[in-house]
Amino acid sequence: MSTLIAVLLSLATIVMIVGLARKARQYRATPAPLKIPVTPAPKTTGGVVLRLAKEVIFFASLFRSNKWTWLFGWMFHVGLALAFIRHLRYVIDPDGMLGFMWPLISLEVVQSFGKYAGFAMVIGLLGLFARRILVARVRYISAPSDYLMLLLIMFIGFSGLMMSFVSHVDIVGVKTFMLGILNLDLQELPESAPLMIHLSLVALLGFILPVSKLLHIPGVFYAPTRNQVDNPREKRHLSPWAAKYDATRGSDKNAAAQ
């Protein structure tokens, strides 16, 4: 069983990282031939960084758009982020390469914040799930995968909270197991049903991530409507395929077409 989970987790991590990297590379390789920032838009690169930071950290546009969705969505993501940081303690060896991060991660605030963040995450998810069912407009646009995705993350959260607050697991054993995977020296996973479920679902999430709407993670950084500098009059913007058209455009073409 330990071996199976170890293999699943490793594969999922590889699929997720390679999948996301390929998608990001594909986005970067696709040209944006025209300036299409949604205006008013920043006129400098620094301004664009700020604009994106506001979107990524605060979900600024969503806040403007719908307060309930923002509230639940933000709770979920912040909870997720904090829980994620807390989880780093399982994979970072204080004496290893990333050991320099250890003092930060082991801080009391980080660890206890992370613990309760799990609740914020699950409450946020429940709110989003309820919205999906109760608001007719959102129900209309939902496919089965949209519900399942929420359920999947919710169950990851439930099983995690179980371990934190109900049936405690041997976290030293978990850490030994995780570091074992990283050092290619397989160790036994502590016996615990919630832990098995938790880790299997996390692996499943990793597999799904690069082939699902979770592509909003790279997507948010690559949308030309948000990441372009609004300076079309000041600086000529020309993508590679559009540049080829420069040679063939013009009056000759007009005359030929008439």
């Binding site: 949604v38 008013p40 301004g47 719908n66 997507g219 020309l238």
Partner: protein, 521 residues
Amino acid sequence: MADFEVPELKEYPVVPMPKDGVMSHLSPFVAKPEFQEALGYPGNKVQKEGEDPKYILIDGWKEKAIDKMGDLLDRYRGFRVFMDSCVKCGACTDKCHYYLGTNDAKNMPVARQDLLRSVYRRYFTFAGKYFPKLVGARDLTEDVVDEWYSYFHQCSECRRCSVFCPYGIDTAEVTMAAREILAHIGKGQKYDNEIIGKVFTIGNNLGLPERALADSLEGLEEDIFDDIEVPVKLPLDKKGADILLVTPSADFFAEPHVDGLMGYAKVFHATGANWTLSSKASEAANFGLFIGSYENMQRISMRIREAALELGVKRIVYGECGHAWRVGYSFLNTLAGPFDFLDQSYPIPQHICEYTKDALDQGLLNIDKSANDDMVLTFHDSCNVARASGMGNYPGGQFDIPRAVIKAVCNNFVDMEPGTTHDATFCCGGGGGLLTDDLMELRVKGILPRASALTNAVKENGVTHMAAICAICKSQFTKVLPYYGFTMDQIVSVHQLVSNAIVLESQGEEDNDSDDDDAEE
């Protein structure tokens, strides 16, 4: 008046319950084969002739549609990213004026995107290939094509949804891609394609030939002279002029557009500018944008570059037109640049509102505001100016500059309620290539949010007139606001207000008459 129900105005915005497919009966006329071919698209086949002709898709349409989708995915980063990144959060669902006006679920921006996304997922993604039901992917069929044709012509590409989307997903980009795919399988839209055809053959959207244009400009000069006894000129094809004005052809005779044109002429007169219109570029509008065709948009834009070169001008100024300003401000440099032959000390191109604002700031205009005292004004931010371009040299100049111009020439100005102006402005309901009678039902329903906000401004602030800086907005409003109890003359051009208030004195000898032949070197 109409064979559909005109929606009721409500005091407070009400988000309707979605009703699936209540607008599926509405599609615009399909372009004839010759107008397809003139734009570089395959000609379709006629299945039934007559008043309501039917066309069949070209052979192999399915593969060609999918190939075209793949091509566009590789060409436009926005389209590709938008296809992937929607999380179905629903934030955009209540933001579209067509949804608010028609209640049709498929007019919710994300639902509109999904018409295309479902097919994208089926043919281009792992999940859609192997688990189509799970992720809402579907095969491309003729019914799907019909649905695309209907609902991608119920989007005015106004970008309001994009403002509110956490990822900036722009349904306008999706609509443009869809229209481009449709045109490539023989389903181009008649109104848009015929207009582009006219631009190529005659020079402007209205098919107004050079002679007729010269005549109407002369007529306008006479009108102005009769009115104020000042010889304000509207020169055409004047070689060696400093400024080329490109303006939507509706400005040459439609009301209230033409009053705006006279306003520009008076401002140029007052600033002593040596300016001209061009018969070659007698149209600022660029419907290539609406059909999502880079090639056609570029071809149309090149007329402006060529006219500027032929006339030897130093500056290009755009008249009041929303989408033309988007193409001018955001794309012209890319499509038809570089403009190293123009005077670099002015923005290239410049908006007439920027020009007038500068003139006001420099004290070059003599203004009598009381000339507009019979009106209480409000201002409609046109989508393409508000959300797809800019003015001045800071973000948001496109909101302040037209308002500054209005306030400089009028004593009474109030904004409509927040959430309906600036970057959250509602479309007039006729933008994006939909300003055609075959879509009248959509236009009447889609104007609802704007009509409600305007009605509230009338009730609360005694607003009597609404000014706009877009030819399409003005045409749509004058035609459709009467369904809601307004009269045509309540819509005004911004430069019509300038025209009313500007005081011109007959200029003396020291100022060369502007159509002096010396100007041609």
